[in-house]
C-alpha cells in the first residue's frame, strides 16, 4: 500500500494484520502531517499575497469581523462595544483567515479548527494551548472614518 496516495479503502484497512495496521497508521500520520504543513504554508503565503484592501470605520458593524492589509500582512478588524480592535488575521494554528470566523464578545473563533483568540490582546483563549498568541495592533479612527493601524508602542 502506498501511503502517499491515500487511496486506502475501508476494506483494505480491515485486511491488514495487526502489526501492519499500526505500521500503515504511522505512515498515514506522517503523510497527513506533511500535507497539513503544506496547507498551512499555502495559507501563510495567501495571507501575504492577498490584495490590498482599504477598510473604513463605518464598513464594520457592531460585533462584525473583517480583514484589511497593513503592508503585506493581513490584519483582522473586530468591532466590539463600538471599539475597533486589530490583531493578525492568520490564525495561530494553521494560518487560516480569522475574519471568516465567529465573534462572541471579545473572542474570535476560527471556523476551521476552533482556535480562539481575544481580539483585545491577540492572546489564545483556551487553557493549555501550545500555539502562539497573535500580535495586537493599535487602531486609530480618523475624523473621515479612515483607520490608522500601527504596531503597538
Amino acid at each position: 500500500m502506498i501511503a502517499s496516495e491515500m487511496n486506502y479503502s475501508k476494506e483494505a484497512v480491515a485486511q491488514l494484520a495487526d502489526d501492519q495496521l499500526q505500521a500503515e497508521w504511522e505512515k498515514y500520520l506522517a503523510y497527513s502531517y506533511e500535507r497539513q504543513r503544506l496547507r498551512s504554508l499555502v495559507q501563510n503565503v495567501l495571507r501575504k499575497k492577498s490584495p490590498q484592501r482599504q477598510v473604513n470605520a463605518n464598513d464594520l458593524a457592531e460585533g462584525g469581523l473583517t480583514a484589511t492589509k497593513v503592508g503585506e500582512n493581513e490584519v483582522l478588524l473586530a468591532k466590539v462595544d463600538g471599539k475597533i480592535y486589530a490583531i493578525d488575521n492568520a490564525c495561530g494554528h494553521l494560518a487560516y483567515p480569522l475574519n471568516e470566523g465567529r465573534l462572541d464578545g471579545h473572542v474570535v473563533t476560527c471556523i476551521w479548527h476552533f482556535a480562539r483568540f481575544d481580539v483585545r490582546t491577540g492572546a489564545v483563549v483556551s487553557a493549555g494551548i501550545d500555539f502562539e498568541n497573535l500580535k495586537p495592533l493599535e487602531v486609530r479612527v480618523f475624523p473621515d472614518n479612515s483607520l490608522g493601524i500601527d504596531e503597538k508602542s
Binding site: 495496521l21 497508521w25 503565503v45 495567501l46
Partner: protein, 147 residues
C-alpha cells in the same frame, strides 16, 4: 495532486493560483480525513470484547475493551480503576494507544492530556473538552464493569 511545494515556489504563484491550490488541498485533506476514520474504526473493531478482570489490570496500566458498541478504556492509578470512553474527545483517536503517567492520560494522536480522576482536559493543542467518564465497579467474580 500529492505534489509538494516549497515556500519559494508558493511565493512565485499569483493570488488566484494560490487560492485554487488551497481549494485542491482542502479537497485532498477531506479524503485524508476519511482514511483516518477507517483506521480508527479498525482499531476499535480489534479491541477485545472479553470482559477484563481486575487482576489483569496492573497499577499504572490502561486497557481498551469493547463493551457492546462502545470502546471503553480502563486505567488503574493508586489502586483505583477509572473508566472512560476510549474515543479522545478531540478527534476520536483510541485513548488506549496513549500513555498514563500518574493521573494524567495523554492521547497518542495530538497530545491531549486528561485527568483520569474526572476526565478534565488538562492540556490540548487545539481545544479543551473533557473526556467522557464512566462509573466503574468490580463484580464478585472480579470483572471490571461500567455502571
Amino acid at each position: 495532486m500529492n505534489q509538494t511545494y516549497t515556500r519559494q515556489e508558493l511565493e512565485a504563484l499569483g493570488h488566484e493560483e494560490l487560492k485554487k491550490l488551497a481549494t485542491e488541498l482542502e479537497r485532498e485533506g477531506a479524503q485524508i480525513k476519511k482514511v483516518r476514520h477507517y483506521f480508527i474504526e479498525e482499531f476499535w473493531q480489534r479491541l477485545k470484547t472479553r470482559p477484563l478482570k481486575a487482576p489483569e489490570l496492573g497499577e499504572g496500566e490502561m486497557a481498551g475493551v469493547r463493551v457492546g458498541n462502545t470502546p471503553v478504556l480502563f486505567a488503574k492509578v493508586e489502586g483505583k480503576i477509572y473508566g472512560f470512553n476510549d474515543r479522545c474527545p478531540h478527534k476520536g483517536f483510541p485513548l488506549h494507544k496513549g500513555t498514563l503517567e500518574g493521573h494524567t492520560l495523554t492521547c497518542a494522536y495530538h497530545g491531549g492530556k486528561f485527568d483520569v480522576r474526572d476526565g478534565r482536559c488538562l492540556k490540548h493543542p487545539y481545544e479543551t473538552y473533557p473526556c467522557q467518564s464512566f462509573a466503574v465497579a468490580v463484580s464478585d467474580d472480579g470483572t471490571i464493569e461500567c455502571k
